[in-house]
Symmetry: none
Subunit: 236 residues, 2 copies
């Protein structure tokens, strides 16, 4: 059991989660915006902080930076859509985990347990640092998720946020066929009701950027796309 600071501007969400977590024996403190969160953190040591991104007065990113400047507390971000998730990586705030809304209280608690324990272990000097270095190499194609860079044969590629996110998601799930629908909800967010054709267009631009490495992105007719680490030609 540990203490949690839950920061969200929607009272209903705070109450709902607090009720559930308290019932299970966790100690939950609430705050309605980033400003209040920072103040509460100054007064008390929590084991973990849950920060919503969109909040009045002070947003989650700023609050995260502020809290981190003063204390070493694991932080979990709540984000509603892919675009915000996208920013999480861009800011390099060293957040420990994120959960997209709507979340199941059960799942959120499970993740909290993981990051709190990890943090405690790290404090004892046992475990490695918080930010995992996610680098993939496929021949001359190097994809560094944490640095948020993509290189082809040593040349840095300039890509748009959506293209990065799309590529990252394909690469994280390499060798798995992803439907356009799945890609939309994973990269664009659960509440995006756009056309499947949107994916087509972004895939097209992504391929254009990747040059000869575009062949890693395989079209699966009737379904969507898949990232193949190994090129077909190389096999035969």
């Amino acid at each position: 059991m540990f203490s949690i600071l839950f920061v969200d501007d929607e009272q209903a969400i705070r109450e709902g989660f607090a009720e559930y977590a308290q019932f299970l024996g966790y100690e939950v403190t609430q705050a309605a915006d980033g400003m209040e969160a920072v103040e509460r953190c100054r007064k008390q040591d929590f084991d973990v902080v849950i920060l919503d991104i969109m909040m009045p007065r002070m947003d989650g990113f700023t609050a995260c930076k502020e809290i981190r400047r003063e204390k070493d507390i694991p932080i979990l971000m709540l984000s509603a859509r892919g675009e915000e998730y996208d920013k999480l990586h861009g800011f390099d705030l060293g957040i420990d985990d994120y959960v997209t809304k709507p979340f199941s209280p059960r799942e959120l608690l499970a993740r909290l347990n993981v990051i709190v324990n990890r943090h405690k272990a790290a404090a004892q000097g046992n475990a490695p640092g918080a930010t995992k270095n996610e680098v993939y190499r496929f021949g001359g194609l190097v994809i560094d998720m944490s640095a948020r860079t993509v290189e082809t044969d040593g040349r840095r590629l300039e890509m748009t946020p959506k293209e990065y996110e799309l590529l990252f998601h394909l690469v994280r799930n390499h060798n798995i066929a992803l439907s356009r629908e799945k890609l939309l909800s994973a990269v664009w967010g659960y509440d995006f009701f756009g056309e499947d054709a949107t994916v087509n267009t972004h895939i097209k631009m992504l391929r254009a950027h990747l040059g000869i490495y575009e062949r890693h992105i395989v079209t699966i007719r009737g379904v969507g796309y898949r990232f193949d680490p190994v090129l077909e030609e190389a096999i035969q």
Copy 2:
């Protein structure tokens, strides 16, 4: 697309949501109170149930408990703003999410998508988001359902969507004879009104692709087809 049971005593709210969701292709059934909801659930399998809390005859919590006792369906609760959230110990009843009134149909649908997909993933024993790696091997024939690839002796086969689906369904039900009718409704969908001969043609093309491994697909005269993991010749 999935089927939704929307339970609320206010007809205007039901109609409003139903119209919006149906326009987008969702199948929406309505019920005016908890009692009716429970009855409808007994008659039909819905993919998700939306329950208002305050209703005549039987309130949302009781209905939730009742439905949950009989079936494993994800449930989303509706609560009016200002209504007691401590009542939302509903999480103990295992509700999957809740939304406060007034809600945006768009957001509600987005959340429904999340909990329905989460539930389906859980039913398949997968972690949410993660895709189970379903790989079958029959000698030199390797079928990877998650990558959506088929290999014969290390060589990847190019197949059409229907051929993949047909093969996957036969393999998932290996050793079981499947009638053309069953194959049609499983692979083509329950609402497909085509000829049985359609199956013949696709089986033919599938066999052509499989080469020597075509012998895994056995014709059962007067019935349909069956996938045999072990070849007859190998036994004798």
